[in-house]
Symmetry: C2
Subunit: 332 residues, 2 copies
Amino acid sequence: MAEDGTQPTGGTARRVVLDAMGGDHGPAETVPGALRARREHGLPVVLVGRTEAIRRELRRHGAVGEVDVLHAEEVVPMTEAGAGAAARPGTSLMTGCELARREAAAFVSAGSTGAVVTCAVRTLGRREGVLRPALAVALPTPAGSTVLIDAGGTADPTAEMLAQFAVMGAAYARNVLGVADPSVGLLSIGSERGKGNRLARRAGQLLPAMPVRFQGNVEGHDVLAGIVDVVVTDGFTGNIVLKNIEGCVRTTLGLVARAGIAEPRRLDQVGRLYTADTHGGAALLGLTGTVVVAHGASTSAAIARACLVASGLAAGEDLVPACGRPPVETVT
Amino acid sequence: MAEDGTQPTGGTARRVVLDAMGGDHGPAETVPGALRARREHGLPVVLVGRTEAIRRELRRHGAVGEVDVLHAEEVVPMTEAGAGAAARPGTSLMTGCELARREAAAFVSAGSTGAVVTCAVRTLGRREGVLRPALAVALPTPAGSTVLIDAGGTADPTAEMLAQFAVMGAAYARNVLGVADPSVGLLSIGSERGKGNRLARRAGQLLPAMPVRFQGNVEGHDVLAGIVDVVVTDGFTGNIVLKNIEGCVRTTLGLVARAGIAEPRRLDQVGRLYTADTHGGAALLGLTGTVVVAHGASTSAAIARACLVASGLAAGEDLVPACGRPPVETVT
């Protein structure tokens, strides 16, 4: 059953279903990633995608039979923005999501974020009351971590969706990062109440009524400062901020290295804090299952880390509560 | 005439009009900033604001009579978001903008960005064909500079406005930074055409028809990478990205210092690249005059630098051409 079965081989631990075709590098990184997750962390992983391409990589690593494989003929290209076409049957994404639903397993993909969100919503469905799912990423700060939500799940949310993201982000901080009473800030362009674009101003009116400890607006320079436990924003801004941080850390360390102030090799220990290899991907919250979206450029180390995060999240699957709807009538 | 005159005392060079009350620190930083601009760079500066507060600072620096002062009784608080109230007569902002218009001088303020934009638009007016002004900032990259536009002028632009920002940003790169044929990227959440929120997708349809070398989408990690000369975005995202870079550089260097890899004092030379003290403020483009908005937290060094940038911009005042309107009918 090892290479074409859909039965778990990993004993009692729930399997992690991995989209083998996702990411910029496809099986060349996902297969060794699955092997690392299995060998280094004992995680049972199922690879979903083109059997032939997956077997070739398994052979290359001398690992035929070591992880389960489920065939899916179609591949969703990285350029697919997530509209209906992404959710066609027979793709590694859809086949993987369906297997994850049947087994109540966690699902991991480094595919196009929009496509993963579309497929996951269609197969797993939203939790009761949730308007839209959102991506949560835990960013390291000097004194701990800050959850950035939405890091790219919903590019054009409404203010009501943003208000719910705050509740999901606070639940993530509480249950995954162990913060007892997480504080929440709304990302905007001024710390004063009422500053922002239309969306942020409306969300700022709704958030005081949500069941979270809302601290008002925070600004771009506050994201990594650790002044709040959760930073709430729309998926467009959040995705740009997340990637801006990656690029900015790289540029800054590059300038330090070039100035000859520090050894490049030793700077890597700081750089690694802000790469996908370390944070392992974003959790898609608000669904009736666990989904982790890894960075498109993920290496095998990042893939293995994403599988580990997904497995951990699935173990405490009810961590994210159903969201109350915000009081819509206060929106102006 | 030195302390209450409105006549230039600086010979042939056009004066720089400085809002003495703007910024988090007001005259405590603007007055020594004006003195630095005068003493170190020979710039004739007029301080506009409460004469008494300005004189007190001038006395503290042994500089009574050294720069011109124009009295304005009212102060626009930093919390003012820029709606109509900011443009009331008698404020240091409005009085300063009016003096700048009469003298065709450059205007500098570290006040609330929204308030400065409102006052500048009302007094100086937009250039022909310009839908909205935008803030341009030159960010240092490993190999040169990238212009970020809009860094906070217009929080909710239309796609047509974004298309014009590209033209203004390219003119800035050409005329201020000396880039012969600047390339332009649209900030979005995927490099592929069609990825983005509604606004970015629409702008992506308009930009190929604009008179700029449009290279398609760029992502958050590209902003400091120098892959394009101009990064175009809306003022909400741009302001958050700009401040995110400041915070991210600070956090990264702090982590390097804490890891004991480099001497904190030597790291400052990298940190200084991304503070307001160095870039000196954002140019508000698209008006019939030169306006520089300095960071609210500006020190006297940042104020002096902003005055220098403004003076340089004013010297080549016609550098930003009138903008053609994008072909509106292609918007879907």
